[in-house]
């Protein structure tokens, strides 16, 4: 059974190779090859899942050793896969949601002449992401980690002819590289500390080293997680990443890749458990990001960017939970899975709306679309209810658990973290209701109005200006797009209940991550009630602002906070001034210095030798007399020197 693990990765990898090397011949069938191989991988995943379920809880770790990757004295990096409950969960999420999004893309990318290549990149992403979660050592994980970064780069910049897309892709890769640097340093630290970076020995010996070392490793891992999962301070790339095609945003920048940071932290539980101060930093990062993302999500008029803010915020919840230690690990992963369902569903819904609206992304130019797109409306609506945590839907179960766990951390920290999580829940309810109202309710603001970019500089221009500029004719998307949306909506409704009733998910993951209850100062019921109140407040404010009164098509100037939030709370401005401008000045002055100083010394030496010889040349004036003088002078000097030597 172990031998199947490699096939999980091999199937999409084969797809990527065939589609990218195959050339134009495959244009007609390429998308079906890609979808089929994604589905094959999902099928293998199901077979392995059934096998795992058939074993007892302590027998559920399978490993497969393929070959020795980098064999150098004392440094052993192998290509070995590990399939346990944690990676199995991810495998199913990645291949399942991945297959659905492949299917959706068949419709969404139908008119794109480079569709074959798009599917090649998607398959490449699946292979890299599976490698990431199946790796049995940190270096192989790093391989997958950068591999998904590459796939993300290629897909964000898929419409390369648009400068915005190319810039966004580069930015995503660069910011991620900063995080990757953290992972690289963490691996080096592990190697220096343990002499290995394979999961097994590192985790079993984590207790043998000092807390300081563990804290250093943990903080470097956190840096990596911040990059990949768009957590403060490395979150700035996610909003720009929405330049990519919408299925990409759904798969990579919502459901799977951006959650890799959470996977990394939960996987490295043994390291984090030994480094409480690092865990505190993790929770702070999570709490800050969940508020940051939520605030940004409130201000964006671009539907995809609003959802991107929301993704950031929801991953903030997961990171917060993961930072809580054994109290939160399981819930972090549970929220990750349910979030995978509803956020992918929301993005696909957004894509469907854009598909029907000439690729317009400005929500202020939507309105009243529920009549024209009933399936999209219902599936989006269910996703909406799930994300705000409406009782009974999946977000209710998973988010509630995280808020409880935050309070259970105890002490002042517990109150602060729990409070932040509650506040986040209220803001989530607000911005998601706003998205819902602007898009599907209210007046039909797109009537009699060609969809051109407004003059307002704060509002991003339309991300995909492929369409015509005539008045849109909203229509429902084809079956191939709606079926994945329906499946994901079903998952968003039932997932949470399925996982939580009888603590199924907890029992499944506990052997890998460990679990402890913690002692909450508040009862579970109190927390749930508080969450419900927050939710109601958020929805009510959004209704008051966007439901009762008509929405202006051009965004009002807004308060200082709104304007700052529209600009991602000025983080990009900071980056621009400090990093981009500063970097430009640095490189420019270095180029100048290299030319004038280092090359100058060399050229200066050459010039002075040349100048000296030019002056010496003048002595050779061609007059026999002057040569005679120098001869006599020289002879006189010699004689004088000889006499002097005699005298001494």
């Amino acid at each position: 059974m172990e031998n199947l693990i490699a096939l999980l990765i091999a199937a999409p990898l084969l797809g990527a190779a065939v589609l990218l090397v195959g050339g134009r011949r495959l244009d007609a069938v390429g998308h079906w090859i890609g979808t089929l191989l994604a589905a094959v991988s999902f099928g293998i995943g199901l077979v392995l899942f059934a096998d795992l379920l058939g074993r007892s809880a302590d027998q559920r770790t399978l490993t497969q050793h393929l070959f020795s990757w980098i064999p150098v004295a004392g440094f052993q990096a192998d290509v070995t896969f590990r399939l346990d409950q944690l990676s199995m969960t991810f495998v199913l999420l990645i291949t399942g949601v991945g297959s659905l999004i492949h299917l959706y893309s068949v419709g969404y990318m139908e008119h794109d002449e480079r569709r074959r290549r798009f599917f090649g990149y998607l398959n490449l992403f699946l292979a890299a992401m599976l490698l990431l979660v199946l790796a049995d050592n940190y270096l192989l994980l790093y391989f997958g980690w950068e591999g998904v970064g590459l796939a993300s780069y290629l897909l964000i910049g898929f419409w390369q002819h648009k400068p915005g897309a190319a810039t966004a892709a580069k930015k995503a890769f660069l910011v991620n590289r900063v995080g990757d640097m953290g992972l690289a340093i963490a691996i080096m630290l592990m190697f220096a500390t343990f002499g290995t970076f394979a999961f097994g020995p590192v985790f079993s010996h984590a207790g043998d080293t000092s807390e300081g070392r563990l804290t250093a490793i943990a903080l470097m891992l956190l840096l990596a997680a911040c990059g990949k999962s768009a957590q403060v301070p490395l979150q700035s790339w996610l909003g720009d990443a929405m330049e990519g095609p919408t299925p990409v945003s759904a798969l990579i920048h919502a459901a799977t890749m951006v959650t890799a940071g959470v996977y990394l932290i939960v996987r490295s539980a043994a390291v984090f458990n030994g480094a409480p101060s690092a865990q505190l930093v993790v929770t702070v990062v999570g709490a800050v990001t969940l508020l940051f993302g939520a605030i940004v999500g409130c201000a964006k008029d671009d539907i995809k960017k609003a959802l991107a803010g929301s993704t950031m915020s929801q991953i903030g919840y997961m990171v917060l939970a993961a930072g809580l230690g054994p109290i939160g690990y399981v819930f972090a992963i549970m929220h990750l899975v349910t979030h995978g369902f509803f956020k992918a569903g929301l993005f696909l819904g957004a894509g469907s709306v854009m598909h029907g609206m000439n690729d317009e992304v400005d929500m202020r130019k939507y309105g009243g679309l529920r009549k024209y797109m009933p399936v999209t409306f219902i599936t989006f609506g269910l996703g909406y209810l799930a994300i705000i945590g409406f009782p009974g839907l999946s977000g209710f179960f998973s988010k509630d658990k995280i808020i409880e766990a935050a309070f259970a951390k105890g002490g002042t920290e517990g109150w602060i973290l729990g409070g932040a999580a509650l506040l986040g829940a209220a803001i989530t309810a607000f911005y998601m209701t706003r998205v819902m109202l602007l898009t599907f309710f209210g007046e039909e603001r797109w009537r009699n109005r060609p969809t051109a970019s407004p003059a307002e500089p704060d509002v991003e221009p339309a991300a995909e200006d492929r369409g015509t500029r005539a008045e849109p004719h909203p229509h429902e998307s084809p079956r191939v797009m709606t079926i994945p949306m329906i499946v994901l909506a079903v998952g968003s409704v039932l997932g949470g209940a399925f996982f939580s009733i009888g603590d199924r998910f907890l029992h499944w993951l506990e052997p890998v991550t460990g679990h402890s209850e913690g002692n909450s100062p508040l009862s579970a019921l109190t927390v749930t009630a508080a969450t419900m109140v927050c939710l109601a407040i958020g929805v009510a404010i959004a209704w008051a602002q966007y439901g009762r009164k008509p929405v202006p098509v051009v965004a009002p100037r807004g308060s200082l906070l709104t304007r700052a939030a529209r600009r991602d709370l000025l983080q990009d401005d900071f980056n621009h001034v400090v990093l981009v401008r500063g970097g430009e000045h640095l490189t420019r002055s270095l180029v100048y210095l290299d030319h004038t100083l280092i090359d100058g010394v060399v050229n200066g030496t050459a010039a002075s030798v040349g100048g000296l010889s030019g002056r010496m040349r003048r002595l050779q004036n061609g007059f026999a007399r002057s040569y005679a003088v120098s001869m006599f002078g020289g002879a006189a000097l010699l004689v004088a020197a000889t006499l002097l030597m005699r005298a001494v």
Binding site: R617, Q620, N621, G622, F623, A624, R625, F632
Partner: protein
Amino acid sequence: MNPVNYLYLAALLFTIGATGVLIRRNAIVIFMCIELMLNACNLALVAFSRMHGNLDGQIIAFFTMVVAAAEVVVGLAIIVSLFRSRHSASVDDASLMKL
């Protein structure tokens, strides 16, 4: 007579020759001055030979004479051809072998 006086004379002749080489421009005169210096050397060599009581100095003097004779042949030939081409025997006119 004290042989040192011959050395004084040799030094005097050499100095006159050297001065001539430095200050005169006519190639023939310079040439004669060079001969004067060579002969001053010969005189000194012969004087040394006498002083030390061996023949080494006289032998070298003969060598010098042979070389001087050869030099005169080559040198005069150069001067003559120079005079033919430039109609002048001034060495300053022949300062083109520079740069």
